[in-house]
């Protein structure tokens, strides 16, 4: 007789569990709003710790190469020439074909000059040009030139970053990204 009991039990449980499941999906169909973020019309808000594209506060950097040594995939290339205390910058590039966005390059920096921003839209269709140069200027700036030649530094420009660590990190990064965008027009 258990066969017959199983038979009817199967029918009962199939119908019962099916209708229960259908109630769940109907509830989602009628009353739960979609949770999709309609990219690119809307974007998600990122936390301040987000690990996106790097940014370098070039005037702080002392060319110590600790970040390059810390990188597990060796994607940072730095080239600068030292003239006493002044650096003549040639190259500071991160190869984003290699970078795994692990953030191991950030803690070793002794002067806290490299950061990761919230820039994640890095897709490009140019396979050769994926190494991003983080320098804001190359060679020597006028004030560097002046320092080399022993003249008094020209009147400090209204850069809050120059005064010892002043300004919130977030604001500094935001200011630098805005300046970068204004310069380049498009990201590379």
């Amino acid at each position: 007789m258990s066969g017959i009991r199983d038979y009817f039990g199967n029918i009962a449980s199939a119908l019962a569990t099916t209708t229960k499941g259908m109630r769940v999906t109907l509830r989602y169909f009628t009353s739960e709003p979609p949770i999709t973020v309609m990219y690119p019309h809307e974007r998600m808000t990122l936390p301040p710790t987000y690990r996106g594209m790097h940014i370098l506060e070039q005037d702080k950097c002392i060319d110590c190469h600790l970040c390059a040594k810390a990188c597990p995939v060796d994607c940072i290339e730095i080239e600068a020439e030292k003239h006493g205390r002044v650096l003549e910058w040639k190259k500071f590039s991160i190869d984003y074909k290699k970078c795994i966005f692990c953030e191991l390059c950030i803690p070793p920096c002794p002067v806290d000059c490299i950061h990761m921003t919230g820039e994640y839209e890095l897709a490009t269709d140019d396979n050769g040009n994926v190494a991003a140069d983080l320098l804001m200027w190359t060679g020597l700036r006028p004030e560097d030139q002046a320092k080399l030649e022993g003249k008094a530094a020209p009147a400090a420009k209204a850069k809050p970053a120059a005064a010892g660590g002043g300004g919130d990190l977030k604001d500094r990064i935001a200011a630098m990204m805005a300046a970068k965008k204004a310069e380049k027009g498009e990201d590379d």
């Binding site: 038979y7 099916t18 499941g21 979609p34």
Partner: protein, 390 residues
Amino acid sequence: MNLLIELFAGLGLEGAWPLTFAYAVCIGSLLGFVTVYAMFAIWMERKVAAHIQMRYGPMETGAFHGWAQSLADALKLLFKEDLLPTRANAFLFWIAPAVVFCGVFAGMIVIPFAAGIQIVDLDLGIFFIIAISSVEVVGVIMAGWASNSKYSLFGAVREAAQVVSYELPAATALLAPILIVGSFKLGDFNAYQAEHGWLILANPLMPIAALCYFISSLAGCKRAPFDLPEAESELVSGFHTEYSGMRFSFFFLEEYVSMFVVSLLMASLFFGGTTLPFDLGGFGNWTEWARAETLGAAASLANATPEAIAAAARARTEAGPFADIGNLIGAHAGLAILILKTFFFIFVQMWLRWTLPRLRVDQVMTVGYKYLLPWGLFAVMGTAAWEVLV
């Protein structure tokens, strides 16, 4: 259809031309309807699936919720490269989608969209639909074999087993309403339900028959939970893995057209067709008009008896001076009601697809032979007994 023949004859064509042109217009319009319907149904499926899954579905193509997505997909499929797998049987590969689509499409010629809007009113209405829809099995087997791919072969063999097996319970369950009405003609079901109320309420066994038919038809359309032949997570795409472009879209169209046919049969046979379960007072009487229209249509058939024609004429006169307008509204209201019911069942099919997991092939056979067939038979015998005793 007879109207069209008269129309063309009236234009001065002779011989077989009026018939040919009439057929051409009918088939053409049906094809147009099917294409537009399929595009809408695919859009609807994607939207239903999306909202069940807490997302939006198509939104970009076409300003309002991506209505043009299906159109864009159809255009894309038209432009796709026509692939033929290596060492595939080219003739069978080529002809399989056509066979599959034509089988189901041919079933639509007996469907009464409304009284008078029917291509052919065969005596064997339902029987013809069931029989001609079976032709698609041959097409599916051809597709699976000719693709020269083991996955496609798996899908085809499973599909053959499944669809052929489930025709038994489907046809058996359909015998219950046929017994009550006493005819295979689809128009008669409408007329009977206009008189006696919905067939699903006719006796306590009718809901069982309706449920059996609905589940069997899900299996016949290869819809979840019986979507083994296209079991995506096992067989990539089953028997139509190797198809691309327009050939693939034929299979897709076939699935949605058979969903439509099945839902329409469900609506017409069990749930009243063009009639509502209650009478709407005030505005005159819709069911009266629907009945009058149906009876009026019966009069236009070639084999109607003079008594039937006279009865129809009387019914028309009794309906009142506004009968013609009423009939017109009634016919269109009836069509709208039928389409709404059909789309409700299509929605239920989609709802089930996105809720339930898939049955394994031996479980499919078990459900078909051990559960649905016995209960279908029980429903038919019970209906017969009820008709005799009650």
